[in-house]
């Protein structure tokens, strides 16, 4: 098991991923040249506001971008050495939910209210592991036990409405990990949970990761989740990754003005600050992006060069930044 320093092998290598939506208002470049790597046992946080492209990035990796109007127009998603963007739909169905799985945000809608937990947790196992009968049943119970649902033998027959919000999110988690995925994408998995239940769930995900070595991608808008859960961070703005690095680099030494501003604008639990830094304006609409750096209109360091989109600069320690300030 890789510890904090010893890194595992690269299990997911996303390169120059582009997913566009062709709408009547124009081409929405929801994901526009996104690249990152993920190692075994590692947790990557993809942070951004609504419309930053973080969720479309995760849908692209799952090949679930609604089409039309959406289309993956370029790039590679190498999962265990194979480009899943070149897979046929049939090949994709074999790995979706198995090798690469997803935990969705809202446990109320992620589960089907008319099927019991047994059949919903068992579905992926039945399809991918070809389990049936008592083997399937015991595997489902095992999964529920793994996500610490009390009395799993009795509860497999229950329906979603018989579970509390936190327990439902655990069931969704059980479905996510049921086929031993290599990569688990967690899209804002705790936003609808209360603080004390969120803490339980995050602890559970960490334990599961320690047990199985699964690599996790956290899609979130919350730097608190990043600080608590992630090893590495990619910050997205208007469809692109503006900064990437180890979690401590990002917090101690943000290299992109957007990251810096975002971290400074969040109130802290640990101390009282009388005035928050506030970023002027709002994120630009993706169908009408400013030319050049998309953050420039809100950036206090903006200067003439920002009319051109900056290249991605590599900084010390593997940190990257898409900002002209880092040009040397």
């Amino acid at each position: 098991m890789p510890d904090a320093n010893g890194r595992g092998d690269v299990v997911l290598d996303v390169e120059d991923l582009r997913a566009y939506f062709f709408t009547r208002w124009g081409v929405v470049k929801a994901v526009d040249g996104v690249s990152f790597q993920l190692r075994r046992g590692e947790t990557l946080g993809i942070v951004g506001e609504s419309g930053s492209g973080k969720s479309v990035t995760s849908l692209s990796m799952m090949r679930l971008v609604p089409s039309p109007p959406g289309q993956i127009v370029g790039g590679r998603v190498m999962l265990d050495g194979e480009d899943v963007l070149r897979y046929s739909e049939g090949q994709m169905e074999k790995i979706r939910g198995a090798k690469i799985a997803m935990v969705l945000q809202d446990p109320m809608t992620a589960l089907n209210p008319v099927f019991n937990i047994d059949s919903q947790v068992g579905e992926a196992l039945r399809i991918h592991k070809r389990l049936s009968g008592s083997a399937l049943k015991s595997q489902v119970v095992d999964m529920l036990r793994k996500v610490r649902i009390p009395a799993p033998e009795a509860r497999v027959r229950d329906y979603p409405h018989q579970f509390s919000g936190g327990m439902r999110q655990r069931v969704v988690g059980a479905i996510g990990i049921s086929c031993d995925p290599v990569v688990l994408i967690a899209d804002e998995p705790t936003t609808s949970l209360d603080a004390t239940v969120q803490a339980q769930y995050l602890r559970l995900l960490k334990d599961l990761q320690d047990e199985t070595g699964v690599a996790i991608i956290f899609i979130t808008h919350d730097f608190g989740i990043v600080a608590k859960m992630c090893d590495r961070v990619a910050v997205m703005y208007a469809g692109r990754i503006v900064e990437q690095g180890d979690v401590r680099q990002i917090f101690n030494n943000p290299s992109h003005p957007y990251t810096e501003a975002l971290i400074n604008s969040v109130p802290r639990m640990e101390e009282r600050n009388d005035r928050l830094y506030s970023i002027p304006g709002q994120p630009p609409p993706l169908w009408d992006l400013p030319g050049g750096c998309s953050f420039a209109p809100r950036c206090e360091y903006a200067h003439e060069r920002c009319v051109e989109y900056p290249p991605v600069y590599e900084l010390a320690g593997g940190q990257t930044s898409a900002c002209w300030l880092r040009s040397g």
Partner: protein, 327 residues
């Protein structure tokens, strides 16, 4: 409880029990005790925070103060006067003086009304201003919340979430209220927009000497905004103190757990996690004794049978827990 030391608003033993099931004969068998004996005071120019998890009764408390629900018991005092005794004019004045900003700026503005009418409606109903005066007051309010007067002619869908919340704030300020109830005012907004709205609310408070009742679940936001905080659990305030005192010296095991569960602002901050077992029980079926005892890591003998009473271990710091004495 003292009532008259200049508090803008105080509530005393406020209760709201919703009947949920009836027997065949129409007699109520079960009550949902959403708010079950809540007391606090809001001083002029100050912000009082109510924190707690979903279902703890914080929003019902706000609805009671806004007179959107009728209390089952207890009193609301406005400037020392019981609100329940107010008649037409007094009631109108109370309703104008107590305004609200809601959580979801997509749901809380009528999509078919222009901003001019959204902000102007309370003025038309409650004041005798002429059309021209309403027009200039709306323009002034828009500028005060950081929007431009020409935007009065637009519809809500033409604004972003942050701008819509500004419209909601302008509407709340239209009648020069004394108290504004802020029910999760930033939690539906994007991270980069939240700071703008929080700063705006603080600026307006300083300028107009407003009192706020902030309802929130995010502890960092509460620390940033509030002067005094009450922590609610299952319809009751279990701990109350001035903000700094509460965050530096939380007493109730629930407050401690809540704080330990709050997400850190830096990866190097490691809190001793007090992971509570289970979830908040249904308010339909509250546990006997202390409501928190089934989840409490510090429970001992009396907790599952005797209800704890409020004690004040240090001045202004009140807690309802057997650990701190009382009966």
């Amino acid at each position: 409880m003292s009532t008259s030391n200049g508090a803008v608003l105080s509530v005393e033993g406020l209760k709201k029990h919703f009947p949920v099931s009836r027997s065949l004969l129409g007699r109520t068998r079960q009550y949902l005790k959403a708010v079950d004996g809540v007391s606090f005071e809001i001083e002029p120019g100050m912000t009082y925070g109510l924190v707690g998890e979903s279902g703890c009764g914080k929003t019902t408390t706000a609805k009671l103060i806004l007179l959107l629900e009728e209390p089952t018991g207890g009193r609301i005092l406005f400037g020392g006067e019981p609100v329940s005794g107010l008649k037409s004019d007094g009631l109108r004045e109370y309703k104008a003086s107590v305004q609200a900003v809601f959580q979801d700026p997509w749901a809380s503005l009528n999509p078919r009304m222009r901003v001019r009418n959204i902000i102007g409606e309370p003025l038309e109903i409650n004041t005798s201003l002429t059309k021209g005066e309403v027009r200039s007051r709306v323009a002034g309010l828009l500028e005060e919340v950081g929007l431009a007067p020409y935007q009065a002619d637009l519809f809500p869908h033409e604004f972003s979430g942050g701008q819509r919340q500004r419209i909601g704030v302008a509407r709340a300020l239209a009648l020069n209220p004394k108290l504004v109830i802020l029910d999760e005012p930033v939690s539906a907004l994007d991270v980069s927009i939240r700071a703008q709205i929080m700063n705006l609310l603080k600026d307006l408070q300083a300028e107009h000497n407003l009192s706020y009742l902030l309802i929130a679940h995010h502890l960092a936001t509460v620390r940033h905004m509030c002067d005094r905080v009450g922590v609610m659990y299952l319809g009751r305030i279990v701990e109350e103190a001035d903000t700094e005192e509460l965050y530096e010296n939380p007493l109730h095991p629930y407050t401690r757990a809540l704080m330990s569960a709050a997400l850190p602002s830096h990866p190097d901050i490691q809190r001793d996690e007090i992971i509570l077992t289970g979830e908040v029980p249904s308010p339909l079926d509250t546990p006997p004794g202390c409501h928190f005892h089934p989840r409490c890591p510090a429970r001992f003998d009396p907790c599952d049978s005797v209800e704890p009473v409020k004690t004040e271990p240090s001045s202004g710091h009140r807690v309802v827990c057997h650990l701190y004495g009382g009966a």
